[in-house]
Symmetry: C2
Subunit: 276 residues, 2 copies
């Protein structure tokens, strides 16, 4: 044991070259589509947060929020800190989707980045402009395969439109890797990161766990269905959806009314240990 102390005292890491490490965050929320008809339920769209870079490199390009890992914090704490700086709100959840370490991915030097998916629940989202961000905003997301098997990532915020093209590389543990054919003027390798985040998000939307992160504590089953449909870009029969989630939710005595049609019962997430 004394031996080990002696060893550590004389040990120096400075002999080896070290990379800078960052966390980049793909922050998702659902936004409502407004409609003219007061009776129609508002549609839901998946959107993600991008920052317009205020400085070099990639000045004036859109990028993911993120920043450097500091000593004494975990990479999760770093990601949380960075996303909070940007939105002034804590995300509901934060999940790693892997380390991006391709040499040359950052023109500033040897910088590797751990990417995260984070989810913001309903009515908990703000956003503010940060230091090196001249602008920020939530972009509507579309991610689909074309006839050639390439994936098209489309992001839009009003007039602002981005369109990246990617190819599937390999798949592991539900997270698919992509290579960039056209970055669509997104900064760094962020198109690749966003594509990976979307496949991970879609994969875990099937077990409902991540669906709850997008919802308030109490919600109607139609709202829950809208969340899943917006993420997976599908549509299904309400009757079948209700049956499928029945084991994952619990009734409350409250209702949501005033929408020009029959009020809907509010439900809440059921903890796994509980019974019906």
């Amino acid at each position: 044991m004394n031996d080990e102390k002696t060893f550590l005292k004389s040990y120096s890491l400075s002999d080896y070259e070290r990379p800078s490490v960052t966390a980049d965050i793909v922050a998702f929320k659902l936004s409502s589509e407004d409609s003219e008809n007061y009776r129609l339920n508002p549609g839901k769209k998946l959107s993600l947060l991008l920052i317009k870079r205020g400085g070099h490199p990639f000045k004036d390009h859109w990028a993911l929020p993120g920043g450097f890992l500091n000593p004494g914090e975990t990479i999760e704490e770093c990601a949380l800190r960075e996303v909070e700086e940007e939105t002034s709100v804590k995300p509901v959840s934060l999940m790693s989707i892997g380390l991006f370490s391709e040499p040359g991915r950052d023109p500033r030097g040897w910088i590797i980045s751990n990417a995260f998916v984070s989810v913001f629940g309903a009515d908990r989202v703000e956003q503010k402009s940060g230091d090196d961000a001249s602008d920020a905003g939530w972009f509507d997301v579309s991610f689909e395969q074309n006839d050639d098997g390439e994936y098209i990532l489309s992001l839009s915020k009003g007039e602002e439109k981005l369109r990246a093209v990617l190819k599937e590389e390999k798949c592991a543990f539900g997270i698919t890797s992509f290579s960039i054919i056209d970055s669509g003027s997104l900064a760094f390798d962020h198109a690749k990161i966003i594509a990976g985040a979307l496949t991970a998000l879609r994969g875990s939307a099937k077990d409902f766990q991540i669906i709850f992160d997008f919802l308030p504590d109490k919600f109607t089953l139609t709202e829950m269905q809208n969340v899943q449909e917006a993420i997976l870009n599908i549509s299904m029969q309400p009757a079948n959806f209700r049956r499928k989630v029945s084991d994952f939710v619990e009734e409350t005595d409250e209702y949501k009314s005033g929408a020009g049609h029959r009020p809907a019962r509010l439900y809440k997430k059921r903890n796994r240990e509980d019974q019906s």
Copy 2:
């Protein structure tokens, strides 16, 4: 653009403190259990590779193979290089299970590690002793929950036995995080890494993709079933297993005979695009 060049020229990353980055590999293979009865098919057990540390810190403790990330390589290339140095064989597959960055996880200083699961196929495994490894070997693995909800990780190689205790922390994208209650004298936070690797492996054994990585190009369905049963620690009816995998495999015209019973047809993996 000229602006950006100027910026990059004056930009220096050396102002910020940087961590050392390593890759640690949880290398799995299947080993056969020998039996006295020549007629019985050999049973299969899941095993993983550990290295006995030859130097400080954790001298003489068992640890995962791994090493430092070099400039100009990706973390995947680093992991591949390290595992090849140890076994002199290329693994069939390599998949990241996340970055471990808890401050204090390595007594040598600020060192963060990306962990990987790698799989070695049948008849492709050797192993040699490396520089800082005084010994190395494949350990049989058992990983189960006890009545208190804690997870027990047991590793054994002949007389050598390790037993770690862990608690489930959180789950994201099929990879569960654990916290260590008792490291079972494994080095660093490697008990935590192995536990995460096992849940990831088990999760992806259900879609059969990873099963093929453990098998030679041609295999019997019973061999394939044995692989899945060894990984998931279950047993199922051969008839049901055959039906379930039928869409994922293709018949060949070859048979495996000479085992004291009816010869079994050899199958191969079916590529997703092909039809029956």
